[in-house]
Symmetry: C2
Subunit: 419 residues, 2 copies
């Protein structure tokens, strides 16, 4: 399949992808919804207004909105119908849009001419802890190898509620948080800017229709709730975290900012890359058992560029398929008590680490709690993030001659706030 | 001060209170905002439309809405202006409303003729752990007397992110959650309905204007963020909690439901009842230091009525002023890293316990983890909540001949969900 719009084979956004995002033209018009195609965006509000999305079962003006929530609520049949129709409109053999220069002019915008916004109004944000390698590494550092994994870890996908208000879109600067921490040698806690600022390489997914309060989502149908996936950087202040997290879990150490990539890749676009996740031992309880492969082969990379570095350096390369608990299991677990998910809710995987050193998804693990500094290409070292550092996470599935990509989530560290 | 509307001295809603709520007339009209006065509601949408709120600095139709969020965003000056004007309109000496039977007919509705709704769209819900007695009791049960309080507890108000989607208004039935738990004697976890369902007596407060992401709220001005207070029941499944909570804190054990009372009592109405909280030792860090009394003398009671009981029985009687960390401190701490609070966000205190046995704010403490059953007035015992139990929390400040009350938050336990 090819589009009449030229797309580089290395591009993240070929016609096989068509991720959804919310954009505002730099000319200052109202935000609305589009799909990425190569270096361009197809403005779905224009396409809809031109009558080209009739008969696909969506209500009027669903794309002329500043968030995807209403479209997410419609469910998989509507998503598939729209996707098929948009794919047809963009294909090289279809003249409707291709041969209509007035409509093309109006509906196709270069990505450099827009600002990307948060794609949804996030009601609740939940973060899991689904990578066995990550949980084992962190546990080993804090409790020793023998007690690395908590007894509950292999029985259920551990998760916690994150902060929705501070989820920001890629490109937003992130201010170093100040807070309480207690250095191991100090008698009393101290206050100041975090000295152990970290990233966490994660992926997140947005919830479609959601469930009625009190009615769990069965694991067999849990994937029907996944509208699509994004890259997530769950910025973390390890020194604040170490002092505050007992007994109720991480709070301020993570609520100062969470960054997401702007383009939501539909689950449909990832189907060719479906793979099995790791073998689960012990066998999960029935409510977490699902037939067939439930993971995806998604390459993930993290780049760091310090202020004094000429170019960004790759510091992490791993894969989504290392995750022990699947998205379907996480959704089913989340709702098994009757907790309700709503359209636009964001669930994230937790740090994604693999078995190799380069596959560790955060600096805490990469530098092994500061004992193994990372060499940078300009001679500097990194143990934690420094002011001015720009962190970029990218990810893609490699097809035969094309890529299904996620673009990137990037953010620069600003110095701590001063009054 | 007296209203021309008759108000019983025991009523929670005299003219000195005037709490805000969102109601829907049982006749099916659109939800809108009112204040409670005795057994009645003054419909502020009607009052506004009649031109009686001109000149108080609010935009049009701010009360003809299904949530208080926009009014909350205006801040204390606007809240005070509206409150003064409404108090004047309701006072016995003011003829404008008193002597206008047509307007009275339209604007004054009996509370039995409406359904109360959630008063705000809650963006994020945060729950603290601010009672020293509660934290000490729970710590003693789980870790012994010597290690009851974690080392961080006296230095910062411990909190965690709760689930916003499952916050429900008083009167909503609460379904017993099913989930994983691991009985102490079992080799492996089991799945089923929680056997240790509990209540938590808390109070919550709604955030006014909020803060810009990255800019902390100083403790000195933190009370300007408090629109008003409600009663909160943070239902908890102790067996699910014990198995899941390490290392990221409570998740499904509390996210199945949190109930709030529908009437938000303005901070202004509580001013006559301002008192000092407990002495804080060690002295908190500067960002948590505030001059003057920061707590309120609010009587709190919990009643339980089992299906076979003829009348509800009081099981808890305590006071808000036992809370160690003040609301101002909790707000300031929440934002010290730059985390942003938004209008309509809900913060809650955590279980409020006092020094005496009857003042313990949850069954876990009252029954001392099941070892001291509670005698009910029909000969039954309670260790945890049973299906059919109705829990009611109420609270009020006792003035001279009047009460500033919170009404109640009530909920009945339904049996676990079955497919």
């Amino acid at each position: 399949m090819k589009s009449f719009i030229q797309v580089d084979p290395e591009s993240h956004f070929p016609i096989q992808n068509l991720p959804y995002g919310v954009f505002r033209p730099l000319t200052g018009e109202d935000p609305r919804i589009g799909v990425a195609i190569g270096e361009y965006i197809l403005d779905l509000a224009v396409i809809e207004r031109a009558g080209l999305l009739r008969g696909v079962g969506i209500k009027e003006d669903i794309f002329n909105q500043p968030s995807l929530n209403e479209f997410m609520a419609l469910g998989r049949t509507a998503w598939k119908n729209v996707r098929t129709q948009v794919q047809t409109l963009l294909s090289e053999d279809e003249p409707t849009l291709r041969d209509n220069p007035v409509l093309r002019e109006e509906a196709i915008i270069h990505q450099k001419d827009v600002e990307m916004l948060l794609p949804a109004k996030i009601g609740d944000y939940t973060d899991f802890y689904a990578s066995k390698e990550h949980a084992t590494n962190v546990g080993t550092m804090f409790r020793g190898k023998e007690n690395a994994l908590m007894p509950n870890w292999t029985h259920l996908p551990i998760g916690y509620h994150g902060r929705a208000s501070s989820v920001v879109v890629s490109g937003t600067d992130v201010r170093r948080p100040s807070g309480q921490m207690k250095p191991p040698t100090a008698d009393a806690p101290i206050f100041g800017p975090s000295k152990q600022l970290d990233l966490e390489l994660e992926m997140g997914w947005f919830i479609g229709p959601g469930n009625e309060h009190g009615k769990p989502i069965a694991v067999a149908s849990a994937e029907d709730q996944i509208f699509g996936l994004v890259l997530v950087n769950d910025w973390s202040a390890r020194d604040i975290q170490a002092w505050e997290y007992q007994p109720l879990g991480p709070f301020l150490s993570k609520s100062f900012a969470t960054s997401v990539s702007p383009w939501i890749v539909p689950l449909e676009a990832l189907e060719p890359f479906r793979v099995a996740g790791p073998t689960q031992d012990p066998t999960p309880m029935p409510y977490l058992q699902k037939d067939g492969p439930s993971s995806f082969d998604i390459n993930l990379e993290v780049y760091l560029k310090g202020e004094k570095m000429d170019e960004a350096q790759k510091i992490i390369g791993t894969n989504f398929s290392y995750l022990y608990w699947s998205m379907a299991q996480q959704i089913s677990h989340h709702t098994v008590t009757g907790c309700n998910l709503r359209s636009g809710d964001l669930l994230a995987s937790g740090t994604i680490s693999g078995p190799e050193k380069e596959q560790r998804g955060c600096l805490l693990e990469l530098s092994w709690r500061g004992t193994e500094p990372i060499e940078m290409n300009n001679g500097e070292e990194r143990v934690w993030l420094e002011d001015g550092d720009t962190l970029t996470i990218t990810g893609w599935c490699q097809g035969d001659g094309y890529r299904i990509g996620f673009g990137e989530v990037t953010g620069r560290v600003l110095p701590a706030y001063e009054e």
